[in-house]
């Protein structure tokens, strides 16, 4: 059984000018110990998926339908207090982009950590301090004792993200949701954070849901990838298959538009604009921008179906499978 099973998740933002359907039936699952990447353009609903799972959406967002199954319980229908006491932190933790803003600016790092340990793990003051130091060491923070007295504004971006990871790990969760964890960090620091996440996964066996727009990052860390377009999953599968033989035209376009070494000529861009979620196009939401679009695409939403070489794709006219891959199996 999958650790987390999201099915047909629908989330809307209710603005004065109307309902913005940010998620329109997202389904995905994460196995224990697995790293799943959720990729897509800005505004495709990646982060909203994450916050819908833990029900931490900011105003005026609301989950309007679907299920989020965790250990047989539906998180969408759980009481807020149950979610608070039993799920958040202990089962599912999160780390965020711009880590310095994610930490409370007027409370020291040490207090933020020990507060969680004392309230969530029932430790006393001394135990909590010792545990905080141990956790900080495990995320490779040098001189953890003196770091406990720092305020977030005194930390570098990379350091703040390590602290954030330490906080998220403090209750030993089984799933870590990482929302663009490397955005805004310099390249070296990005790499260190990736290495740290990979090592933590190996060491603790927790699963990771990595949300990113950075395909290269997803390739470094993930076992499987789900591609999100305008609030729907376009394609999902093992990272090797998806990268080598994308079947959804959107995935193919996304891969073609990324800058690479040795690239000749201009970077390919995807024509048109991201779908307007207030008045989304009918049928497949990608069809106005899709090179393969036919009549049926504008009328019917394609279901997510298994396709060779081993992924699931929502497309009426998928890209042909790349030959070298078909031959090798």
């Amino acid at each position: 059984m999958a650790l987390l099973e999201v099915s047909d998740l629908r989330t809307s933002f209710f603005l004065r000018s109307g309902e913005l359907r940010v998620l329109d039936g997202v389904s995905l699952e994460i196995q224990a110990g697995e790293v799943l990447g959720l990729v897509g353009e800005t505004g495709s609903g990646k982060s909203v998926t994450a916050y819908s799972i833990t029900r931490l959406l900011k105003q005026p967002g609301r989950v309007v339908g679907g299920e989020v199954k965790w250990d047989g319980r539906d998180l969408v229908r759980l009481w807020e207090s149950e979610l608070e006491q039993e799920i958040r932190g202990k089962e599912i933790s999160m780390i965020f982009q711009s880590p310095r803003e994610a930490l409370n600016p007027v409370i020291t790092v040490g207090r933020q950590l020990t507060q969680v340990l004392r309230i969530r793990r029932g430790m006393d003051r001394r135990e909590a301090r010792a545990e905080a130091i141990r956790i900080l060491k495990s995320v490779y923070i040098s001189d953890p004792e003196s770091r406990l007295d720092s305020y977030p504004h005194e930390l570098s971006g990379g350091m703040a993200q390590r602290i954030m990871i330490a906080l998220a790990l403090s209750c030993q969760p089984r799933l870590l949701i990482a929302d663009e964890p490397t955005t805004g960090l310099d390249v070296t620091t990005q790499h260190q954070i990736v290495l740290l996440l990979r090592e933590l996964r190996d060491r603790t066996g927790m699963a990771i849901l990595l949300i990113t727009h950075d395909l290269a990052l997803a390739a470094q860390l993930c076992d499987r990838v789900a591609v999100l377009y305008a609030g729907r999953i376009a394609e999902m599968g093992p990272i090797g298959h998806l990268f080598r033989s994308p079947r959804h035209p959107y995935t193919a376009a996304l891969l073609a538009s990324r800058p690479r070494l040795g690239l000749q000529g201009d970077i390919l861009t995807i024509p048109g604009n991201v779908a307007n979620l207030m008045r989304p196009p009918g049928g497949c939401r990608f069809h106005p921008r899709c090179p393969n679009a036919t009549q049926v695409c504008a009328q019917q939403q394609p279901p997510l179906e298994p396709m060779d070489p081993g992924q699931r794709v929502a497309c009426h006219n998928p890209m042909p499978q790349r030959q070298e891959l078909a031959a090798s199996g």
Partner: protein
């Protein structure tokens, strides 16, 4: 963060108050000298002999040039003398000392009341936006800043004293003519309890209700409004989301995470409101015949009692500065990001 550094900051900040206070002092002094006509002429009227007039002017240093007057005023002030009041015939500093406790008690209770209502109201409104409690908070904050304080006082007096007869009328601190022998703290309510005079305590409380509510209601509005705004912002912040993602109880998230961040703007507005209350307090004291500084200043203004006016403005300004001093130091202590 070193507490020594904080102490140094506080010391520097206290020293900085001196020049501002001196300029304010000069301004107040100058203001009382630009009044057309000589104070003695204005107060004494025409029925007084020329010799007596000259004598009076000499006592008040009015026969000397302006700068000398100011220097002498400063000298007297350094010895704790503020000049003799024309109406009470004793030194203004003594007058002010006698009346300060009444005002201080009123303003303190009013501010406590304002904060005690405004904080929970603003916080609840921020948590439950667009709910009924939010509507109340918004109504209170817009009404509170729209109503003339002296009119509100009158209306309340009419309803609760004249019409219903539940509370004492505008007769000062006790609602009756009881004189209190020797004050201990100066707070009539506390003094009465200390002396075990429960009857007096009740009277004092009853007399405090209306003026306190009047002043407090007006002071409450900006505080509730600010609390609602900054708490709403804090509750939507990333660090609150982090705290919630860790499963911290909502109470902890609101009180220890959000409120701690919102505290500085709330304190700042409270200090600003305190200054506002010091002005509104004058009007409240007039309405309720409260025997404090406001009433004293009102009488001083009506009778052109120069030293009294000077003394009053000086004292109130000083109190206001001390409030801001406390605020700045509290801000420095609360916010690690403030450079000092």
């Amino acid at each position: 963060m070193g507490s020594t550094r904080l102490l140094l900051y506080a010391a520097r900040r206290i020293l900085l108050i001196v020049p501002v206070l001196l300029v304010a002092l000069f301004l107040t002094f100058a203001l009382t000298r630009i009044v057309p006509g000589n104070p003695v002429d204005r107060v004494a009227g025409p029925y007084i002999s020329l010799e007596r007039r000259a004598e009076l002017k000499h006592i008040a240093y009015l026969d000397r040039p302006f700068y000398e007057q100011f220097a002498l005023y400063l000298r007297d002030l350094s010895q704790g003398k503020m000049g003799t009041s024309y109406t009470t015939a004793q030194d203004v500093s003594k007058d002010l000392r006698q009346r300060f406790p009444a005002t201080f008690e009123l303003v303190t209770y009013a501010m406590l009341f304002a904060v005690a209502v405004a904080l929970p109201l603003g916080i609840s409104a921020a948590i439950k936006k667009d709910s009924w409690i939010d509507s109340i908070a918004r109504a209170v904050s817009v009404l509170g800043v729209s109503m003339p304080i002296f009119w509100l006082g009158l209306m309340l007096l009419y309803v609760f004293f004249y019409f219903l007869g539940w509370l004492p009328g505008p007769v000062g601190r006790t609602g009756s003519a009881i004189r209190f022998a020797e004050p201990i703290t100066g707070f009539l309510t506390i003094d009465a309890l200390l002396k075990g005079d429960f009857d007096l305590f009740l009277k004092a409380v009853q007399a405090l209700i209306l003026p306190c509510f009047t002043l407090g209601f007006v002071a409450m509005a900006p505080i509730a409004r600010m609390t609602r705004a900054v708490m709403a912002e804090a509750l939507q912040s990333d660090y609150v989301r982090t705290a919630r993602s860790l499963g911290l109880p909502f109470r902890v998230v609101v009180l220890r995470h959000a409120l701690k961040n919102a505290l500085i703007p709330i304190l700042t507005i409270t200090a600003a409101v305190y200054g506002y209350a010091l002005g509104g307090e004058v009007l409240v004291e007039i309405i309720f015949a409260w025997p404090g500084l406001g009433q004293y200043s009102y009488n001083a203004l009506l009778s052109s009692d120069f030293p009294a006016i000077q003394g009053f403005v000086l004292l109130v300004t000083f109190v206001y500065m001390v409030i801001y001093l406390a605020l700045d130091i509290a801000t420095a202590a609360l916010d690690p990001r403030v450079k000092y």
